[in-house]
Symmetry: C2
Subunit: 417 residues, 2 copies
């Protein structure tokens, strides 16, 4: 089927999904979860094909691990789908209701976006996650996974589509672009007649390509340097725990700490307490000139070079700089793409407010780890992406962020005067 | 100054505006309103220059009228600015507050978008409107008006900037692109490093250009065919008033009725009542084949041709078709770009719900005129645009829609476990 025809079919499916009851959408989700377990053998066999191809192509072990399914991982994916069943359906919710003087009863009603296009790589669980979240919110989805997961995704989409049929919903509610050509991605990005939102889940080059070529609104997300600023008034006994947690709880995550900024008045006292922990965690410290005088005793230390403070480390490296005050810290953050998650450790209300309002980040913390920026942690139940753009939604995007609203006005044959 | 430098200056100004108090922003707005009146002579003289150039270029009288300022119009613009002063400032509002089990106190806090780029034509009041709404919400703005209003806008921006200085705010909070080259628009659309949102206020070709070339999120709006569907259960005595109001209250508005759809069971009875009013209003009726049998006695009647039902009339023309039921009406609306404002006249709850949920429009009405889609009518105080896209905001966009939010998490040195 051509991409245009898939788009048209998705739009048709979206019309039907928009008025499908929550019960019926949940039935389809339960069927998907059940089928994932029932079809375990064929899913794992297909995954084996992908894994062999990946090994033959010399893919790194960490990427192969992201790609691999096991019975336990498949059960976890099925459990995630059942969790989506248990989440409240945002579609149809009314809010901001008011009655105008002329008698017009006005409210906003939540409804699906329509058709969501998702471009992603590697991990096959994304196929199920996104399909489930879109289905729950009454959106049709067009998925485009990476070529590394081609065999696995093909089976997964067959499982989804047979569950859709069983639930008497159109199979075109979840479609998969089978050819992994980049050209098809470019075509998808201009199908604004059919597609309402594009979610790229991948590296910076994918986001850039979407931003430059899409005529459809794109959710940009996942990037940004995470900072933690230790203010003059911070509790220096407790600060190291938060710093180490932000850095080491999961260094590969996008909310893991990249840069530590420290107020000059407390730099000496803080680093005395912090350096043993940095060494114990085998962290590599990349230091600005301002910080070097304080870092005697750091086991792995080098001077920062051009671009270091613009690097998301995604591993056991930490940038360190010493600053004059909270405003100097904010200046550093503005220069170095603070847009995801940033923390201030402070006991000073003015400094906290200046930091909250001045940081350009999607999530700002006072006396808490940057690691909390996450749909599950925020109690959203699930997330489709972490938006670092300013329009539509910001930070972790759950079910509600997969919806839009329409204004609904009701009256008694009311005319405008 | 180069456009890049303007962008950089705007971003700097935005940092300052983000933490400027409401009192200070309101003072600047009051200065703008006062200066508009104090500088009346020089503003009207500049406007005279534009008007003479427009006449020499053979511009139509209706466009010249949009361009013209008078003492009364200038006072009205100043009054609009004072009205913005009286509106509540959304910046800093917190919402969706919750405390998680681990003690993280989490909320969303409204903040400015940053830098807003606005591209518009003709009417000089837009310069003041947009500058005022952006200023109130702490956004810096980069304005690019049409060449027809060049002299007027230059004086208006001088007035704004001197008011900004008087209020001790940076002049770069409101900047104007002085060269009316299309190339500069193209450059603005890719300045995603500095600009956070683009609002095009103009025709379809401007919107298309923005959609295709912008790497910055664009607010698409203002278009869409407006429909009114008369259901079988409608009150046929009162229906004509609503139809005539939707069509004739202001035919040039984007929420004016374009297409009337009528249930076949009531078509004969409705048109008997409606035709005298259509003739009295001198409306030109463009009829689908389905409607022709009912339209004997219409003074100005022609058969619909290809594309007629995709035309926003913006004048005294009305498309008419007869349909089988509400679902047939929705089918017609989907084919013909219902995305702005649509009405059902009905006494049937099922039909009303089907229509509300099935219509793809930003605003859907039950038993009310399409003419209500408007920031002032909806009680938003003012509007920057009417969005017909699904992301960020939909329908009339007021002050709140010029903001984004950040997540704010506060705790007591909390780490993720």
């Amino acid at each position: 089927m051509s991409l245009q025809m898939m788009g048209k079919a998705a739009k048709e499916a979206a019309y039907q999904l928009a008025t499908t009851s929550t019960t019926k959408k949940n039935r389809a989700l339960i069927f998907i979860a059940d089928e994932l377990e029932a079809q375990q053998a064929s899913i794992l066999a297909a995954n084996q094909t992908d894994l062999e191809a990946a090994r033959a192509a010399g893919m790194s072990e960490s990427l192969i691990d992201r790609l691999a399914l096991t019975p336990a991982r498949l059960s976890a994916i099925a459990a995630d789908v059942r969790n989506v069943v248990s989440l409240p359906d945002p579609v149809g919710q009314e809010f901001d209701h008011k009655v105008l003087e002329n008698g017009l009863s006005l409210s906003k009603r939540r409804e699906p976006l329509g058709v969501v296009g998702v471009i992603y790589e590697a991990r096959p669980n994304v196929t199920i996650d996104i399909a489930a979240l879109c289905l729950k919110t009454g959106n049709a989805s067009i998925l485009r996974g990476g070529k590394e997961t081609f065999a696995t995704n093909q089976v997964l989409v067959t499982v989804i589509q047979s569950a859709l049929s069983k639930a008497e919903l159109p199979q075109s509610a979840v479609q998969y672009i089978e050819k992994p050509d980049r050209e098809l991605v470019a075509e998808l990005l201009t199908m604004d007649e059919y597609v309402d939102m594009i979610i790229p889940r991948g590296g910076a080059s994918l986001h850039k390509m979407c931003k430059q070529n899409s005529t459809i609104p794109v959710i940009i997300g996942g990037f940004g340097i995470s900072h933690l600023y230790v203010d003059q008034s911070a509790d220096l006994e407790r600060a190291p725990d938060v710093i180490i947690n932000a850095k080491t709880d999961r260094p590969s995550a996008c909310n893991a700490l990249d840069t530590l900024l420290v107020h000059k008045q407390v730099a000496a006292q803080l680093f005395i307490r912090l350096i043993p922990a940095l060494n114990a965690q085998k962290l590599k410290i990349v230091a600005a000139n301002s910080a070097l005088p304080y870092l005697d005793g750091v086991a792995q230390l080098r001077e920062a070079a051009e671009g270091d403070f613009d690097t998301e480390w995604l591993g056991p490296t930490l940038g360190v700089a010493v600053v004059d005050d909270v405003h100097d810290a904010l200046g550093h953050m503005r220069e170095h793409n603070a847009s995801h998650s940033d923390t201030i450790l402070t006991n000073d209300i003015d400094a906290a407010e200046a930091f909250i309002n001045g940081a350009g980040s999607a999530a700002v913390y006072v006396n808490a780890s940057t690691r909390f920026t996450d749909g599950a942690q925020f109690g959203l139940g699930a997330e489709v992406a972490v938006s670092t753009q300013k329009l539509h939604a910001r930070g972790p995007m759950g079910l509600e962020e997969l919806t839009t609203y329409k204004w609904v006005g009701k009256a008694d044959y009311l005319t405008r005067q």
